[in-house]
């Protein structure tokens, strides 16, 4: 029935306006604002007027250089060594603070390696950002196959007609409906260094041989602990997506495989996996996106520590923008993050495209 309301163009726009307006206000505008602000020196609160600074923010975020340090030598030209016999090198700041080398100004050492007697030092103008970048990439790289694979395994186990299978479905899905903040708080207790559940469990299983570890307080275990907990938290969600994919595969195809005498592995390889192609692309992309947005766990559990070993890009963006009131710096990180995620999505879509 065509009334004036449904045929009039203006009425249509009027109905769309509230939703459209909100989308603009909270998604479109901030998106472009981030680009704009990353080119300025905007601060959250500042008496000084905002100035356009070009790509200076990007430069101070992304600048990297390699410095070659020659070992210290005594008057005879012999290399000076300490008690262990390792050569001694001049300190990096003799170069980064040297007016002769303005290009290294303000940079700090990120990491170094040795080639021959020389030490090569990678210096970055923003070491924390670099660590956050590496941590985020590590997180994504581990969690995409880890969480996706585990979720698929659970989905395969659960996709059977057994009595009580719904109980397992519910249990595996439960962490998903609990707020990530609550989950993070809980896992802080589990990982606690003194009397945590995990330490108690491990020492119980090894009859007290296991030395308690402060899981979140050590640079070598903190990120791993957060990865494990994050996999656990969202694996149920992806399990459900896999399950939906599994149920679209026609049972007759499995019967064909059965008649041909296919083994369990062959059935998976020729029937199940090809049938899950589209699901796999979806799961992979969703996990990657979520991985790059890692924030709440860090904020609740480690605050980026210890020694920046759990810094992540989003955490840094928030920390800079609001913690340090450096809106332009936070925006710059957001834009860099956006470009990384965009690139990865495009590459994933290209790699998983339908080949004809």
């Amino acid at each position: 029935m065509a009334s004036k309301l449904t045929t009039s163009n203006a009425a249509g726009w009027a109905f769309a306006l509230p939703g459209f307006g909100l989308i603009c206000l909270f998604i479109v505008v901030p998106f472009f604002l981030a680009f704009a602000l990353s080119l300025t020196n905007q601060r959250l609160i500042s008496p000084n007027p905002t100035e356009y600074v070009g790509f200076a923010n990007y430069k101070s975020l992304l600048s990297l250089a390699v410095i070659t340090l020659e070992p210290e030598r005594d008057e005879d030209g012999e290399i000076v060594r300490d008690e262990d016999g390792t050569p001694e090198y001049p300190r990096v700041r003799t170069i980064t603070r040297n007016p002769d080398f303005p290009e290294y100004r303000g940079m700090r050492e990120w990491f170094r390696w040795h080639s021959g007697d020389n030490a090569r030092v990678v210096v970055a103008s923003d070491v924390v950002f670099m660590k956050a970048l590496v941590n985020t990439l590590t997180f994504a790289l581990v969690i995409a196959p880890g969480q996706g694979g585990l979720a698929l395994l659970l989905a395969l186990l659960i996709n059977q007609r057994l009595r009580g299978i719904n109980i397992f479905r519910t249990i595996y899905f439960m962490p998903v409906v609990v707020s990530i903040v609550v989950v993070s708080l809980l896992w802080r207790f589990i990982y606690d260094g003194n009397d945590g559940l995990l330490n108690n469990l491990l020492s119980g299983l090894t009859f007290g041989l296991f030395e308690p570890i402060d899981w979140l307080g050590r640079t070598d275990t903190a990120l791993g602990s957060i990865i494990a907990m994050s996999i656990w938290q969202a694996v149920g969600f992806h399990m459900v997506i896999w399950l939906a994919g599994l149920q679209t595969i026609s049972p007759t195809l499995y019967e064909v495989a059965q008649i041909e005498g296919a083994s369990k592995w062959q059935t998976f390889r020729y029937v199940t996996w090809p049938g899950l192609r589209n699901t796999a692309v979806l799961v992979l992309i969703v996990i990657t996106m979520q991985a790059f947005a890692l924030f709440a766990q860090i904020d609740v559990m480690t605050n980026g520590g210890p020694l920046d070993s759990t810094q992540t890009l989003v955490f840094q963006a928030v920390e800079r923008g609001y913690g340090k009131q450096d809106i332009s710096g936070g925006s710059t990180i957001s834009v860099v993050l956006f470009l990384i995620v965009l690139t990865i999505s495009l590459v994933q879509r290209y790699l998983t495209r339908e080949r004809s």
């Binding site: 007759t252 195809l253 019967e255 064909v256 059965q258 008649i259 041909e260 005498g261 296919a262 029937v271």
Partner: protein
């Protein structure tokens, strides 16, 4: 090549018995068709022969060997499904070769067998296509090709042509008949379609509610149905039934009468009838005719419905003395609805069934 024999085969799903003690003997190279109303257990029986369903009790022998507990792949069978069940992500060639791939057959042998099957089915030009680029008939051909390369002793078909349109169904029907002649393998075929059953079968098995009603050659079932069910099931339009009373049973014939029918003497063998017992008279629509002289005729009534098919005219007649009857007159006859009509039949071609 192999014969198949079922003895006292039963199948229950939970407490519901679906196959209730079936005995069928199929000899080597025979083409056997299972027919019956929907839900009577045709597919279940076929799947039990394939090994896709367990046999609750009774024995199934293929080639003289009891195979109740033998894996499907070791039974020497191949199955073709109504829904084709071909793999959408594989080319036709890969689909046809699927069983060989699973069995780990060498590339050369695979190539040879696939080409052989493609030649038999005249689909060499389709081998490099994807299933999405095929018509329904071509897809079913691929599924049959996949069955052929297994070189089975017994082919099992579960309504393979039901998803095709009428014209294609006729082509494929002939093709399957040809294939049977060419390969000489035993074939068991489930269908709803009477024409398929009548034209393809060496032997038809009529099932009802998991019980075999009659086993015999198509014409045997048509001319000598063992009971009311078979009589009504085979033939189209279905046989007319009329309640009659036996007046007199002599050695070579029985005289019956009904309200709508004057006493008539039928030739009956085997079955004996007591005088004054009740019975059912079966008249095939095709064997009813309109006598030249309208006053003659054994049945009188008015035309209630006319369907003119060109080659025959199906008339629904409301009998004057109660009851309805359908006649299929073997020529195109324009009849007015409501007009008087007289029908006649040859007592030699009438069937008589004792009341159960």
């Amino acid at each position: 090549m192999a014969d198949v024999s079922l003895s006292q085969v039963r199948k229950s799903f939970g407490s519901a018995e679906v196959i209730k003690g079936v005995d069928i003997d199929i000899s080597d190279g025979e083409f056997v068709v299972f027919v019956g109303p929907s839900g009577c257990g045709k597919s279940t029986l076929l799947r039990m022969i394939a090994g896709l369903e367990d046999i609750t009790s009774g024995t199934l022998e293929i080639d003289g060997r009891v195979v109740n507990d033998v894996q499907p792949k070791d039974r020497g069978i191949a199955m073709v499904f109504q829904t084709y069940a071909i793999f959408p992500h594989m080319s036709v060639r890969e689909n046809v070769a699927f069983g060989l791939t699973i069995a780990g057959v060498s590339r050369d042998e695979k190539e040879r067998k696939v080409n052989e099957a493609a030649r038999i089915l005249q689909m060499e030009h389709l081998l490099d296509r994807r299933p999405s680029q095929l018509s329904g008939g071509q897809r079913q051909r691929v599924a049959i090709g996949r069955a052929i390369v297994r070189d089975p002793a017994v082919f099992l078909f579960d309504e393979p042509l039901s998803n095709l349109d009428a014209a294609l169904r006729m082509d494929m029907r002939m093709e399957i008949g040809k294939l049977h002649n060419q390969l000489g393998a035993t074939m068991i075929y489930v269908t709803h379609d009477q024409v398929e059953a009548m034209t393809l079968a060496d032997k038809i098995v009529v099932l009802r509610d998991g019980v075999v009603q009659q086993i015999g050659a198509p014409m045997e079932l048509y001319h000598k149905p063992a009971n009311l069910f078979v009589a009504g099931f085979i033939g189209s339009p279905s046989m007319n039934f009329m309640d009659v009373e036996v007046l007199e049973a002599a050695g070579d014939g029985v005289t019956v009468k009904a309200p709508a029918l004057d006493p008539v003497k039928l030739h009956v063998d085997e079955q004996t009838y007591a005088a004054h017992s009740k019975a059912k008279l079966g008249l095939r629509p095709q064997y009813l005719s309109v006598p030249d002289d309208a006053s003659k005729g054994t049945l009188h009534g008015t035309v209630a419905l006319v369907e003119r098919l060109g080659t025959e005219t199906v008339v629904n007649v409301e009998l004057t003395r109660g009851g309805r009857i359908v006649a299929a007159l073997s020529e195109d006859k324009p009849l007015d609805i409501g007009s008087e009509i007289a029908l006649d039949f040859d007592p030699a071609k009438a069937h008589l069934f004792a009341e159960p």
